[in-house]
């Protein structure tokens, strides 16, 4: 069955607009998918950034908490200044606890979005133990000496958690994505 030139021209006239519509649709689907993927990546990046900010904030709070001596409540020489210092110190301790308790759900949300690695959980636990372990929230709580090794351990666990989060993100989206 041979097709004449006239028939071919007729087919082209009928089908060409549909082919164009097809190309446009495929183009739209591809670009829409890419845009969605880009938006998802941006959202996840924002979540990672929020988690990293929180890690840094809790570490800063930890530094404040563990460098401050807690005045003894009800002591006879409790002047206004000492009372204020006690209020500030206790407020920092509470902020540290509550901020740390927000970190775990944030990391779980990231896990649900496939930003996951066993190292993240491990680093989170290490950070929690370093910030709130030992004599934390006890009457024996004392400020850490300046040359105490726990400062380095605390900063190290902060850096480790941030690195784990960054690495998990890069594993998901490639080494150069932000």
């Amino acid at each position: 069955m041979s097709v004449t030139a006239a028939e071919a021209a007729e087919w082209t006239r009928v089908f060409a607009p549909w082919v164009a519509v097809g190309f446009v649709s495929v183009g739209w689907i591809v670009s829409n998918r890419q845009a969605n993927a880009r938006e998802t990546r941006k959202e996840i990046r924002q979540q990672v950034d929020r988690a990293i900010k929180l890690v840094e904030a809790v570490t800063d709070l930890g530094m404040k908490v563990h460098s401050t001596a807690l005045p003894v409540l009800g002591s006879s020489d409790m002047d206004e200044k000492k009372q204020q210092a006690l209020i500030d110190a206790q407020s920092n301790m509470r902020r540290l606890k509550f901020s740390l308790s927000q970190l775990s759900p944030q990391i779980q949300l990231l896990n649900e979005r496939k930003i996951t690695s066993p190292d993240i959980t491990d680093a989170l636990i290490e950070l929690r133990m370093n910030l709130m372990g030992g004599d934390f929230e006890t009457t024996d709580q004392k400020p850490w000496p300046v040359d105490d090794a726990r400062w380095v351990v605390m900063s190290g666990s902060c850096v480790r958690l941030v690195t784990c989060l960054e690495r998990a993100y890069q594993l998901q989206f490639g080494p150069h994505s932000r």
Partner: protein
């Protein structure tokens, strides 16, 4: 069978929403008080204990270590503690942290 005889402790309802500290010196709702009231009597008699952790808020590691690590220090062996304790929480890091305290604690000679 074990589930029927298990002692279920809801941290927020049966103990405190804001547990903190290690001993009585640190406040009423400390790790030792929790351990003595809700863990030791049941675990030592071979009863399963289900701890509902999500009703408590912002656990300090010192509280957790004292409550759970202290169980080993008070003479419960690790195998028994691990098999009889059920930690009920959506926070996998919290569960893992407590497991580490159980593993790291050393029985007092």
């Amino acid at each position: 069978m074990t589930a029927m005889t298990a002692h279920v402790v809801d941290m927020g309802k049966d103990f405190s929403r804001y547990p903190a500290g290690r001993t009585d010196k640190d406040g009423k709702f400390n790790g030792t008080a929790f351990r003595n009231a809700h863990l030791i009597p049941f675990v030592k008699s071979g009863k399963k204990v289900v701890v509902m952790l999500d009703t408590g808020f912002a656990y300090g590691s010192s509280f957790l270590e004292e409550a759970f690590g202290g169980l080993i220090r008070s003479g419960v062996d690790k195998k028994t503690a691990t098999s009889l304790l059920e930690l009920n929480t959506n926070d996998s890091a919290l569960r893992e942290e407590i497991t580490r305290y159980l593993e790291a604690a050393k029985p007092v000679a």
